[in-house]
Amino acid sequence: MSLTLSAVLNAARDWSPWFDRSRIPDAVAARMASDVQRDLLAKGATRNPDRFTATFTSASWPADTITLPAFERVLPPILLNFSDSTLAPDEAPLINADEADDYEDGQIPAYTLVGTTLTFAGQGSDHPDYASATVNYVAASADLTALTDTLVLPDDAKLAVSSALAALFALRVNGMPIDGHDPKNGTVSVDVNGLGARAAAAEVQWLRQQSQQQMRRHVTLEAGL
């Protein structure tokens, strides 16, 4: 993934000759891009979570509490890795915190998730064969604060991001004084609805692509998406 903030801002500015930096400073555009990315990531991860999955593995065992990095969503089960790496990991489900009492005997390893902390229901030390726990999750996107920052969205999201930005740019500049000072000397007029419709179409197309990538997989069980 090499989609940078600079690339999407350049592409978004190309949509209208009114989208210059004097009207839309880079910092303003970066904040908009951060919001657009969060929105598209949440929607994309719903349709195809595997594409945006990051992995976090605890350094050691017992891993009674695991503090995750900022995430969009956690993808259960939690994998419990054996000391013998030739063995397939056990799977620990993610349970609701109010059900933790039912798992405290440790017979069925499980985790609760409160905030960003995963907590083992029971005592990890009761399971000495494990060496670590692995968590798959969709990472939350951080704010974009430099033109060289890389988006977490893949390259194929460029049109969806840039057209969404262009639609936001349109809302910002529409009606601005052309000379940057006095509306009596004319105001900027851009096709807000047209750019909005184009952004919506690009988003639908990209999300459809994510769904199709998920649907083409061979699975033995319903994915439950």
């Binding site: 000759p17 210059d20 400073p25 880079d26 910092a27 000072h181």
Partner: protein, 220 residues
């Protein structure tokens, strides 16, 4: 050809036989100050309209890790900053009351001093800032004599001599006001021609944007 203050005065005198009265132009500091002001006006107009009169120089900031400053008054011919940059890239100018308007690295101006926003300029120490700027003419000394040369190229010096002719006409009480107005109009024509020439010089500029550049009212 370098044009002197005296050249400008002689050309202005030549525009009306009534300018031959020696008392009209005998006060050298007065003549130098007037011509210096006209020349400054020309460069201000050019700085607003194009990037013809430009220069580049460096300033060094104070030392520290944040809130460093750089004194721009040392750049004596700086009329308008076009771009300021450090090794990390171009500095973004923001207003002191709205630093979040742009991404790092940023600065704001108070007077002729450039102020770092937070610790945007990088590692601790002094920072060399390269400033590309539209220029003003070199200052003329009111007591420096009539042999001082103006900065403006000779082809556009008629602007100065025509404005001086208008000044002399108004100074000489009793002349028809239409005469001074005629010189003013002629100077304005020359100024418009100069700005057009500067714009034409570079050929067509390919622009992505319809922006208030190069001068944004209220931006400063």
């Amino acid at each position: 050809m370098s044009v002197t203050i005296n050249d400008i005065i002689q050309r202005a005198i030549g525009m009306s036989v009534q300018n031959n009265a020696a008392t009209l132009t005998s006060n050298a500091p007065e003549m130098i100050t007037q011509i210096g002001q006209y020349e400054s006006d020309v460069y201000i107009a050019a700085a607003k309209a194009n990037r013809f009169f430009t220069d580049s120089d460096t300033v060094t900031s104070t030392s520290g890790s944040s809130a460093r400053t750089a004194d721009l008054s040392t750049l004596t011919t700086l009329e308008r900053i076009i771009r300021a940059s450090i090794t990390a890239g171009s500095l973004n100018r923001v207003d002191v009351e709205d630093p979040d308007a742009e991404l790092s690295p940023r600065y704001y101006l108070l007077g002729q001093t450039m102020y770092e926003v937070e610790d945007d300029w990088g590692a601790t120490g002094t920072v060399t800032i390269t400033v590309d700027f539209a220029t003003r003419p070199a200052a003329l000394s009111p007591t420096g004599g009539l042999s001082q040369t103006v900065t403006l190229p000779d082809r556009w010096c008629p602007i100065l001599s025509k404005r001086l002719a208008a000044y002399l006409s108004r100074k000489d009480v009793g002349r028809a006001p239409e005469e001074a107005q005629g010189f003013d109009d002629a100077a304005a024509l020359e100024m418009a021609a100069m700005l057009a020439s500067m714009e034409l010089f570079g050929g067509m500029t390919h622009r992505r944007f319809i922006s208030p550049e190069p001068f944004t009212p209220g931006s400063g």
